[in-house]
Amino acid sequence: MAIPEGTYGLLAEFDTAGDLVRAAQSSYNAGWRRLDCYTPYPCEEAAEAIGFHRNYVPAITLIGGLMGLTAMFLLETWINLLAYPLNIGGRELFSWVAFMIPAYEWTILFAGLSAAFGMLAMCGLPAPYHPLFNAPNFRTASTDKFFLCLEARDPKFEAAESRTFLEAFKPVSIVEVEY
C-alpha cells in the first residue's frame, strides 16, 4: 500500500468534554462523517455525537465462546468414545455432565480471548504509527485534553473552509496534521 501524502486532517483541541461534544455534534449535524474524537477517558456522549452507536465486540465474543464450547466438548467426546475409552468405575463413556466442566472453562477462555483480541483487531490495533502522533499537542490527549479531528478523507474537507468551520467552536488550538 502506498503511503498517503498530504494532510491527514484538522485537529481541534478543547479543554472540556462538554466543548468537544458540542463541536462534534455540530460537525456531525453539518454532514461530516469522517471525523473522530480523542479523549483521555471513555466519553460516551462524544461517541454518540459522531454517530457511533453500536459495535460488534459482543457478536465476536459470542462466536468465540460457542467455538470454545464446541471444541472442548467434541474433543472430550472423541477421546472418550473413540480415541482412548477408559472404564472409570463402570461410568458411562459419554459422561457429558463431567465433560461440561472443561467445556465451560473453554467457553470462557475463547470468549474472553475473542473479546480482547477482537476488540483490538476492530480498532486496528496494534498500530504503532498514526499520523495524529505528528501533532505536537496530541500527547495531552492521554492526560487532560479533548480533541476533534476532521479528516481529509471526508468529501466536505477543504483546508481553509474547514478551519473556519472549526474556529466557530472556539477551540484552544487548531493544528493541521500531516501524514
Binding site: P42, G112, A115, A116
Partner: protein
C-alpha cells in the same frame, strides 16, 4: 452515616452524603495523571523500595533452594506420608488461588455492579490476582513428582497414544486454573493499555518512551476505540465473574468428590468461594495500607475503600461462618458415624488447636469490624487482614490435614509434620509474590488513571448540550 469521631471540616468527607470520598477533593485530570505516573516515571527510586526488593529477593532464594532440592530428591523431602499424602503444597495452592479471587471480584463483579469506588484499587488488586495465581500454579506442578512431565496433563496427540481422564476433578483443575490465569492476564493488560499510552506520552527518557510505546500498541484514545474497549471490558467482566466462581468450585471438587468424611459435602463449592473472596480482600488490604502510606496515595485509596472492603470481608466472613456451622450440623444430622467422628476429631483431636486458631482468626476476631472505628483505621485493618489471612490458611490446613490423618481404619491412622522444606517453599512463594509486587508498583502505574478520571465531577458532560448549526435528519426520522 454516623459522623462520630470525625471532624466536620475533614476535607475527605463529602459534604452532601457525609461519607468518605472515593477521590480526594480538588483533583483535576492532570493532577491525577501526574501523581500516579510520577511514581513510575521518576528517576529517583525510593531506598525503601530497594530494601523491600532485597528482602523479597531473599524469599526467592529460599524458594529456589527448596525447589532445587525437591527436584533432586523428590517429594519425599516434604512431610508427606500415608495417610496424609496432601500437605502443605495443596494447602498453599488453595490459599494462594483464593487470595487471587478478590482481584477478580474487584475488577469484574464490582464493575458489573457499577461500584465506582473500585476503580482506584482495581489495577493492583488484579496484579495481586496474577501474582497469586503464579504462586498457586507452582504448587501442583512441583507436587506431581516429575514436574518436567507436567505437560502430560494437557490433551495433546502423543506417541504413547494416551489421553487425559476427563471425569477427574484434578483434570478440571488444569482447565479451570489455566483459563483463570490466561483471562486474568488478558483482562489486566487490556485494562492497562490506555494508561500505558499515557505513560508513553509523558515519559521523558528514550527507553521509557519506547517500552511504554511498544506495550501501548498505538492507543490514541479515539472514542470509537473507547466504546469498543468499554464493551470488551464489560464482557470480560461478565465472563470473569462466572469464571472466578467456577475456579474455586472446581478446586472444592478436588475435595468434595472424594468419599472422605470431612471432604464429601455439598456445601464446599459456595463456602470455598466465599472463603476465597474473604482472604483475597484481606490480602488487598494488607497491600493497600502500606502502599498508600508509602506513596502518599491517601487521596486515591481512601478511608472509604478500607471501609467498603471491611464490609465485604465481614459479609464473606459470615458466609464462611455459616459454612462451618453447617458442616458441624450435618456431621450430627447425617447420623453417619464416620462423619461424626471426623468432626469430633477436628475439634477435640490431637490437632484440635488448628481448628481453634481457625475459629478465632476467621470468625471471632473479625467481628470487631462491626465497629466503624476499626473499619476506618488503616492500622487496625492491616492487623485484621493479617489475622484473616492466617485464619484462611488454617482453614485449608484443617480441611486437608485433619480430614486425612484419621480416616476410617484406626490401624491406618497417622499424623502430619511439615518439614523445613515445606516451610521454605511456602515462605519462598511469599517472597516471590512480594518481589513481583514490588516490580509492579515501580514499573506500571498501579492506579488506573483513565478510570480515576471518570470518577471526577468534571468528567460528566453537562446537559443540555446545545448543538450549533442545522440538525440533519437521519434515516428513520
Amino acid at each position: 452515616m454516623a459522623l462520630k469521631n470525625v471532624s466536620v471540616n475533614d476535607p475527605m468527607l463529602d459534604p452532601v452524603t457525609g461519607e468518605y470520598r472515593v477521590v480526594g477533593p480538588g483533583h483535576t485530570f492532570k493532577s491525577i495523571t501526574e501523581k500516579i505516573s510520577r511514581i513510575v516515571l521518576t528517576n529517583r527510586t525510593p531506598v525503601g523500595w530497594f530494601l523491600g526488593l532485597l528482602i523479597a529477593g531473599g524469599g526467592i532464594t529460599i524458594l529456589l533452594t527448596a525447589v532445587t532440592w525437591l527436584f533432586l530428591r523428590g517429594v519425599g523431602i516434604w512431610g508427606l506420608d500415608m495417610p496424609v499424602a496432601w500437605g502443605f503444597a495443596i494447602i498453599n495452592f488453595v490459599w494462594w488461588i483464593g487470595i487471587g479471587h478478590a482481584g477478580t471480584l474487584i475488577s469484574a463483579i464490582l464493575l458489573l455492579f457499577k461500584q465506582e469506588w473500585r476503580n482506584s484499587i482495581n489495577r493492583f488488586a488484579e496484579a495481586m490476582t496474577i501474582f497469586a495465581v503464579v504462586c498457586a500454579g507452582m504448587f501442583p506442578l512441583i507436587h506431581v513428582g516429575r514436574p518436567w512431565l507436567a505437560y502430560w496433563l494437557f490433551p495433546y496427540p502423543n506417541s504413547m497414544a494416551v489421553w487425559p481422564q476427563f471425569r477427574s476433578p484434578l483434570l478440571w483443575d488444569v482447565f479451570a486454573v489455566s483459563t483463570y490465569a490466561t483471562i486474568s492476564v488478558v483482562f489486566w493488560y487490556i485494562g492497562m493499555i490506555p494508561d500505558l499510552a499515557t505513560m508513553r506520552d509523558r515519559a521523558q527518557g528514550k527507553f521509557a518512551q519506547f517500552a511504554f510505546g511498544l506495550f501501548a500498541i498505538g492507543w490514541r484514545g479515539s472514542v470509537r476505540h473507547w466504546m469498543r474497549y468499554e464493551t470488551a471490558s464489560l464482557l470480560l467482566a461478565g465472563l470473569a465473574t462466572p469464571l472466578v466462581l467456577s475456579v474455586h468450585t472446581v478446586i472444592s471438587f478436588d475435595f468434595a468428590v472424594a468419599t472422605l468424611p470431612g471432604w464429601h459435602t455439598t456445601i464446599f463449592p459456595p463456602y470455598f468461594v466465599a472463603g476465597a473472596v474473604y482472604s483475597g480482600f484481606a490480602m488487598v488490604i494488607t497491600l493497600a495500607v502500606p502502599i498508600r502510606k508509602f506513596y502518599h496515595l491517601e487521596d486515591m485509596i481512601t478511608t472509604r475503600h478500607l471501609d467498603n472492603m471491611a464490609k465485604v470481608m465481614l459479609t464473606t466472613g459470615l458466609i464462611v461462618a455459616y459454612g462451618y456451622a453447617m458442616e458441624l450440623f450435618m456431621a450430627w444430622f447425617s447420623a453417619s458415624h464416620w462423619e461424626y467422628f471426623a468432626f469430633w476429631n477436628r475439634l477435640f483431636g490431637p490437632m484440635g488447636w488448628s481448628y481453634a486458631v481457625l475459629i478465632a482468626c476467621n470468625i471471632a476476631i473479625p467481628q470487631l469490624m462491626w465497629l466503624r472505628a476499626v473499619r476506618v483505621s488503616p492500622s487496625m485493618m492491616f492487623i485484621m487482614s493479617f489475622i484473616v489471612n492466617i485464619g484462611m490458611w488454617f482453614e485449608r490446613f484443617v480441611i486437608v490435614v485433619t480430614s486425612l490423618y484419621r480416616d476410617y481404619l484406626p490401624s491406618s491412622w497417622g499424623t502430619y509434620k511439615a518439614t523445613r522444606w515445606d516451610y521454605g517453599t511456602f515462605i519462598g512463594t511469599l517472597g516471590l509474590f512480594t518481589f513481583l509486587f514490588f516490580l509492579f508498583v515501580r514499573f506500571i502505574p498501579m492506579i488506573p488513571m483513565s478510570e480515576v478520571r471518570m470518577l471526577l465531577p468534571q468528567a460528566r458532560v453537562k446537559p443540555p448540550v446545545e448543538p450549533l448549526g442545522e440538525p440533519v435528519h437521519g434515516a428513520g426520522d
